[in-house]
Symmetry: C2
Subunit: 146 residues, 2 copies
């Protein structure tokens, strides 16, 4: 997959992050693609649902597996604006997804802080796609909160 295609789908994830922001949620968004099209879109809803498990990735995984009718995401790619936390990385491991593409690194709660590679051994990780824009969304959000 070309960088341009990764950027195109990351833009869709950023669109999801903006939806989260408009609800007062930490602006993180995700999409899942399969065969070059988006099969799931989701954004962080932890405050709205008062549920600490309602991260964008978790909902995108549930939505994508529901769409495909199986509990695996082989052949799929997940795009997420911020590096997955340990919970989301663990969920992605169970899904056996082909690729995970994220934007901004998270040096506080990102999986890499705790564990070098929590993913399924066949999952490819790509980082830094549109990272400035992804990162800016979150930092601006917390600036406004203060």
């Amino acid at each position: 997959m070309t960088g341009t295609e990764d950027e195109k789908f990351m833009r869709a994830a950023i669109e999801e992050a903006r939806k989260a922001e408009s609800r007062g949620e930490v602006p993180i968004g995700a999409v899942v693609t399969c065969d070059g099209r988006i099969i799931a879109r989701a954004h962080n809803l932890t405050e709205t649902l008062t549920d600490p498990t309602a991260h964008a990735e978790m909902q995108a995984i549930t939505s994508a597996t529901s769409f495909l009718g199986g509990k695996y995401l082989t052949g799929c790619t997940l795009y997420v604006t911020v590096e997955p936390c340990l919970m989301c990385a663990g969920a992605l491991a169970w899904s056996q997804i082909d690729r995970v593409v994220y934007g901004a690194a998270d040096d506080k709660r990102g999986y890499h802080v705790f564990c070098e590679n929590p993913f399924h051994k066949k999952t490819k990780i790509v980082s830094g796609v549109l990272s400035d824009e992804c990162s800016r969304l979150v930092t601006e959000f917390f600036k406004k909160k203060r």
Copy 2:
């Protein structure tokens, strides 16, 4: 909390595991307690829901936070028949739960295989409660499957 009380609540988690088994699911169950009473019960539903995130713990967390009306489980204990995986441990970290009590260790997919302590720094971990019974449920399940 006394060992006897931990065993009492682990028995409720085992009851949940048996419900999973009767649905053809890997028999893992969980309950969440608060102030000495059970506020959430759940069992593994990954096959039924075709959702790799539908572990007993994840559903117990979602159910307990929904019951309490907040996204934290401070003051609560989660009992689960098998050591949480990385996904569930990560979710428990976000919930800031007081205690996690598990039965059988999981040397393949348990969090300890990947990471020494993925939990919130204030969370206390207790292992080995009714571990033989918890472990037997899973091993017997897979024996029958073969």
